[in-house]
């Protein structure tokens, strides 16, 4: 999994690259907007971490130019923490927006969430187990003895995040970020989505899996083998 880090501050670029390497990602770096576009074209990374305040060509322009040609996941990094800046970044095509300063562990979690959500890079087409498997390319969930269940995009993202963490409690905020991106959703929206997906699983795949609510924390997917 190759990530292009575009950051003009070399000290910060070094720390980000270090963090990513320690977490198993291959990293390449660029320090201005024009070089970033050249590197992106030449290297075709699986993701771009993009600072906004860049020399030669600003990050928003870099994002627009990449988005005009490809769906490479882009996470913006910026000191600008206003709603306007975040909304603008997401509207022109960023998949997530991280405000500086940030924690390395949060950065890695957000990268993984975006990769899961966008199905980018080496993420397999199918996740899950023999008892419950999600086919991303068909947007379907399959269980032996039942016809495939076609899911809506948001249902797919929710179930995917729960399946890859099957048996464990996934915090509500992490689910929100994985489904809608930063600031894109809230707990009420998540509650409604969980209600919808839970109803569908109960009626269309009875006895295969349930979504359990852990009050004040989040949700966990339990398959019949966990019961």
């Amino acid at each position: 999994m190759k990530i292009l880090v575009v950051e003009d501050d070399l000290a910060l670029s070094d720390v980000i690259a270090f963090t990513l390497r320690r977490n198993g990602f291959e990293t390449i770096t660029s320090h201005d907007g024009q070089a970033a576009l050249r590197t992106w074209e030449a290297e075709q990374p699986d993701m771009v971490l993009l600072d906004l305040n860049l020399p030669k060509l600003d990050g928003m322009s870099v994002c627009r130019q990449i988005r005009a040609q490809a769906t490479t996941p882009i996470i913006m990094l910026s000191v600008r923490n206003s709603d306007e800046a975040i909304v603008q970044g997401l509207e022109i095509g960023a998949d997530d927006y991280i405000v500086k300063p940030f924690s390395p562990s949060q950065l890695v979690a957000r990268i993984r969430a975006v990769l899961r959500r966008t199905g980018a890079g080496a993420t397999p087409e199918s996740v899950g187990s023999d008892r419950l498997a999600l086919d991303r390319s068909r947007s379907e969930v399959n269980a032996p003895g039942f016809p495939p269940v076609r899911l809506a995009p948001l249902e797919l993202r929710l179930l995917e995040t729960l399946i890859v963490n099957a048996g464990a409690v996934v915090p509500a905020d992490r689910l929100i970020a994985a489904i809608w991106g930063v600031d894109g959703g809230d707990r009420t929206m998540l509650k409604q989505l969980v209600y919808r997906l839970r109803s569908r699983l109960d009626t269309e795949l009875p006895g295969v899996a349930t979504i359990e609510t852990v009050p004040g924390i989040g949700y966990a997917l339990l398959t019949d083998s966990d019961a």
Binding site: L10, L12, V15, F18, P101, F102
Partner: protein, 254 residues
Amino acid sequence: MIRDVTDESAQRRLRSYFLDSITHEFRTPLSTLSASLELLLDTEVGLSAGEMRELLKPTHLSLLTLQQLVDNVLMSSRIEAGRFSVHLRPTDLGAVITSAIQLVKPMFERRQQTFTIAESAFPLTVQADPGHLTQALVNLLTNASKYSPLGAPIDVTVLTHSVWIRLAVADRGPGIPPSDRARLFERFVRLAGDDEQYGIGLGLAIVKSVVEAHHGRLGVDERPGGGTIFWFELPLGEAAAEQAATGPIGIGSP
């Protein structure tokens, strides 16, 4: 009563620009510090000595960046409030150059930039305030590093005349059009077409104030072959001028 609202509006814009810029300038090195310290303190990560050093280098660089930023903001505030003054005393310019280079060395190293120092004549003793002169030189060297490509050399030249001494810093940056040069030393100036967006626009204004407080003068020239030369001249005192006529007294090497 008539108020000049144009002026007030310009002041508001300037204040807003300053706050916006300074937030950015602080947050970036703070990001490096918080991220690298989190990694260093995380006992679960289990870093090797080499990895720790790899993280300490950007940490050190960011600390120096913050230090320079704070120094410049404080100095600018003193200048604006009319509280800036220098305490002139016989000062070895060689030692000032050494101190300044020590402070920018981590930046030069990370940007793989070398520096050369050429002294065409001696002595290097001037009537100066060493602290403020070091800060001015650090600002010139930092600018030269930032605007030069990675790996490009930075040249420092010291030239002594019978009554003044000139210190010049040459970069390999994109150069500055002659029409823009006069405004370079004003606070918060961002030149048209300057897409590099470095800094908050205080560094060169501070250099100007420091040099003028030393009864010196400063300027900017095009570097033959590309880039810019920033220079300042300080007057030599009578004793130093006499020494200039008799011979060299040496320079501390960086």
